[in-house]
């Protein structure tokens, strides 16, 4: 088991794995979102390619009110 940060909260996952796999296991994954890993934007096309490992910070953001 390794620990990552998802939107600021610690989360256990079995092992290092591609981002899309991490996402597949999420419950209540929103329809529209965008992702940054360790402060870098990760385009959808890279979800399979990019490997999530121990200590990575994932930000999963959705549309929200703004001024």
């Amino acid at each position: 088991m390794i620990t990552i940060q998802l939107n600021g909260e610690a989360k256990q996952i079995s092992e290092a794995q591609p981002l899309d796999q991490v996402l597949n296991e999420l419950t209540g994954l929103p329809e529209n979102f965008a992702i940054a890993v360790n402060e870098d934007f990760v385009p959808r096309s890279q979800y399979q390619a990019i490997e999530i490992t121990e200590g990575d910070h994932i930000e999963l953001l959705v549309p929200m009110q703004g001024g």
């Binding site: 939107n7 600021g8 209540g28 994954l29 929103p30 329809e31 529209n32 979102f33 965008a34 992702i35 940054a36 402060e39 870098d40 934007f41 385009p43 959808r44 930000e59 999963l60 953001l61 959705v62 549309p63 929200m64 009110q65 703004g66 001024g67």
Partner: protein, 260 residues
């Protein structure tokens, strides 16, 4: 119709989507405002909302131009990443670029703003920088490739209106060809009308509508205000005079009116 970043739009009012009492009131107010441009942000989903996003469903339904912002960003890096996420999420290369330089005044950081602007323009974004009314900063943003500038009227959410009209007038005179939008600080329709009378192309506001006891009616007020200011700008405003001038003709006044 006027041209904003290669799109033909009608309204000269850009409106925010935050701080409304409810999604329904937000939708009604934005419709009432006649806006063709609405600002949104990116945030973490609240736990309880499941995979639902009622807010976003409302906004999509409005079917108007989305202008994502980078609100809350304090560094170039944060702003650039947020802009990139926004481009994918909202399917637009428009970005309202905010790089906050002070927690209390929420004023833009001219230095980080310029750097982030250069980077994002190199990446193909249409940058709408939320900036101060500093002429030199604005000139550098224009040199960096901005076609649109959004100087503040007053600090965000204060409703003070245009606290430095002299600077805003100078900006308009010196940058006749840019699209200039007064963003932030507008509290009442008369403020918006004044900005348009001064030749500003549009105003962007949120709090003044959303925090009114009756946002929908206030939205109508601002819709009318920008129209009023624009008509006046196009028609030409009478020069202010120091001495009174009778409107009713003095010719033909009865003899009892002849006064030395």
């Amino acid at each position: 119709m006027w041209n904003l970043a290669d799109k033909e739009i009608e309204s000269r009012l850009f409106i925010g989507s935050a701080l409304y009492p409810s999604p329904q009131i937000m939708t009604d107010a934005i419709k009432a405002s006649g806006s063709d441009v609405v600002t949104v942000s990116l945030r973490r989903q609240s736990q309880d909302s499941g995979n639902q996003n009622i807010f976003w469903d409302c906004i999509k339904e409005l079917d108007i131009n989305i202008l994502p912002n980078t609100a809350g960003c304090h560094s170039v890096k944060e702003a650039v990443t947020t802009a990139q996420m926004a481009r994918e999420l909202f399917g637009t290369h428009w970005i309202k670029l905010e790089v906050i330089g002070d927690e209390y005044s929420l004023q833009p950081d001219p230095f980080a703003l310029l750097e982030a602007t250069r980077e994002l323009i190199s990446q193909g974004f249409e940058v709408f920088p939320y900036c101060t009314d500093d002429l030199v900063l604005c000139e550098k943003l224009a040199e960096a490739g901005c076609r649109i500038l959004m100087p503040w009227g007053a600090p965000i959410g204060t409703g003070k209106g245009l606290i430095n009209p002299y600077a805003l007038k100078t900006l308009r005179q010196r940058m006749p060809d840019l699209t200039l939008v007064v963003d932030a600080g507008i509290g009442a329709p008369s403020h918006a009308a004044l900005a348009l009378e001064m030749g500003y192309d549009a105003v962007l506001l949120n709090t003044a509508v959303a925090q009114s006891p009756d946002p929908v009616t206030m939205a109508r007020g601002f819709k009318a205000a920008v129209a009023a200011g624009r008509y006046a700008y196009e028609a030409g405003i009478m020069p202010e005079k120091d001495l009174a001038q009778p409107s009713t003709p003095t010719l033909g006044t009865p003899f009892w009116h002849q006064h030395s």
